[in-house]
C-alpha cells in the first residue's frame, strides 16, 4: 500500500512533465527548472509538505522534492539564524545531494565514454 502511493504520486508528477514535453516546445531542461521552482514555491506556501507526508519518496525523488528541500531549508534557516539563514539554509539542506552530484557526476564522466548512438 505504501509503495502503491509512492508509485502513483511519483508517476503522476512525471506525467505532468511528459504532457508539458509533448504539448509545448519546452525541453527537458526547461521541465527540470519549472519543476524545481514549483517545488520551491509549493514548499514555501505549505502545499508540498502534505504531499511528502502522503507519498514520501513519490514526492521526494522528483526534482520538485529537491525544490521543497531548498525552500524548507531557507525557512528553517531564517528561524534559526535570521537573514543569514535565508542565504545559508537552502544550500545547507541540499548540500549532500549537490556535492554527490558534483563528485559522482565528475567521476562517471571521466571514467566512462559516451556510447556510440545506434
Amino acid at each position: 500500500m505504501e509503495y502503491l502511493k509512492v508509485f502513483i504520486v511519483g508517476g503522476l508528477i512525471c506525467v505532468i512533465g511528459q504532457i508539458l514535453l509533448d504539448t509545448t516546445k519546452l525541453t527537458p531542461a526547461h521541465i527540470l527548472v519549472i519543476f524545481l521552482t514549483s517545488g520551491v514555491v509549493l514548499g514555501a506556501v505549505g502545499l508540498y509538505k502534505p504531499l511528502i507526508e502522503f507519498a514520501e519518496a513519490g514526492a521526494i525523488v522528483p526534482i520538485s522534492g529537491f525544490g521543497y528541500a531548498l525552500s524548507k531549508g531557507a525557512i528553517d534557516g531564517v528561524k534559526a539564524k535570521g537573514i543569514i539563514g535565508a542565504f545559508v539554509g537552502g544550500l545547507e539542506a541540499t548540500a549532500g545531494g549537490i556535492a554527490a552530484a558534483i563528485l559522482f557526476g565528475y567521476i562517471a564522466a571521466i571514467v566512462f565514454d559516451p556510447k556510440t548512438k545506434s
Partner: protein, 149 residues
C-alpha cells in the same frame, strides 16, 4: 501538388508530421517515474532500518540515487531508460544526475576544465540558479512576513 500555395502546403505538411504518441508516452512516463520513486522508497526504508533519522535518510537517499543515476548514465543504460520513460526518467533526481554526466562525458575531448567540469552544469547550472535563487527569496519573504506580525 505543384500548384499549391504556401498556406496549402503548410497544411499539407502539418498533416504529414507524425503526431507524438501522447498516450503511450504518458503511460511510459508514469510507469518509469513511479518505478524510480518506488526504488527510492525501498532505499529510504532500508536506511530507516539502520536507525538514521528522517533528515539523514532523505539526504542519504538522494546521495545514493544520484550515484545510481550517474553510474547508469556512465554505462549507457540511463539513456535507454530515458528514451522509453521520457519525463519519467528526467524528473526524478536520477535524471538530474543524468543531466550532469551526459554532456560532461560528451564534451570530454574539450578538456577537463571547459569540457568536463564546465559542461557538467549546462543543465544543472540553470537548475541550481533558479532553485537556490528562489529559495533565498523565499527565506527573505518569510523573514519579512514573520517580522511584520
Amino acid at each position: 501538388m505543384d500548384n499549391m500555395n504556401n498556406k496549402e502546403y503548410q497544411k499539407y505538411a502539418e498533416r504529414k508530421i507524425p503526431k507524438p504518441t501522447y498516450f503511450k508516452n504518458i503511460l511510459y512516463a508514469f510507469v518509469v517515474g513511479g518505478a524510480i520513486c518506488v526504488f527510492g522508497q525501498i532505499i529510504r526504508n532500508m536506511l530507516f532500518k539502520f536507525g538514521l533519522d528522517e533528515n539523514s535518510v532523505t539526504i542519504a537517499t538522494s546521495i545514493i540515487l544520484v550515484f545510481v543515476g550517474s553510474f547508469l548514465t556512465g554505462i549507457g543504460i540511463y539513456d535507454k531508460i530515458g528514451k522509453i520513460g521520457g519525463a519519467g526518467a528526467a524528473i526524478p533526481i536520477t535524471g538530474f544526475a543524468n543531466s550532469i554526466v551526459s554532456p560532461a562525458m560528451e564534451y570530454k575531448r574539450e578538456g577537463f576544465i571547459f569540457g568536463v567540469a564546465a559542461r557538467m552544469f549546462s543543465i544543472a547550472g540553470p537548475v541550481l540558479v533558479y532553485g537556490v535563487g528562489s529559495s533565498v527569496i523565499v527565506g527573505i519573504l518569510y523573514l519579512i512576513f514573520t517580522k511584520g506580525r
